[in-house]
Subunit: 103 residues, 2 copies
């Protein structure tokens, strides 16, 4: 079910580094120590996304990876986007382990 703006703002307050684009998308940039570490992260994100058939848009700009999430079927953001964001953040924490930092 599509979330309203108030719900979105509340959920955003509970996560780190994510911003909203017009309450239609949530976006986060992750910075890595190396290009290949960013690729490792993208692979983890891909597996997590494929497992629930909910795929972020992914941009890889050298050591920076940007994820953008929305729920096309709902025409906006849903709980699934925030659940996915939490999983991706955990994957980042696991990989970076002190060597990367959010941009």
């Amino acid at each position: 079910m599509k979330l309203g703006n108030t719900d979105i703002d509340q959920k955003l307050a509970e996560v780190t580094g994510w911003t909203t684009d017009d309450h239609k998308w949530i976006v986060r940039k992750y910075r890595f120590a190396s290009f290949m570490q960013g690729i490792e992260f993208v692979n983890k994100v891909a597996r997590l996304a494929e497992a629930v058939n909910h795929h972020p848009m992914i941009a890889i700009d050298y050591k920076m990876v940007t994820l953008r999430l929305t729920s096309w079927h709902a025409g906006g953001l849903t709980d699934l986007d925030f659940e996915s964001a939490a999983k991706f953040d955990q994957a980042f924490t696991d990989i970076a382990a002190g060597s990367g930092s959010p941009d």
Copy 2:
């Protein structure tokens, strides 16, 4: 060495699917049969890029992967960009093997 516009146009005529953005970038979109096949391609691209320390910008939009190449140090396009493009095209051919097609 930075290539002039005439050289760029000539080299573009020799490759398939690549277009130029203001003679500053070359860009190609690849479409895959599945999201995970696109991820496999990105991994190949990453290894090829890392080997010569020349990294394209990569965007993954579900089954579509977009590569953008330029040579920052030269302030434009160089032979290295076209050499990289040829390698990425070969990786695409190897992976898609009939199941994907350029967009």
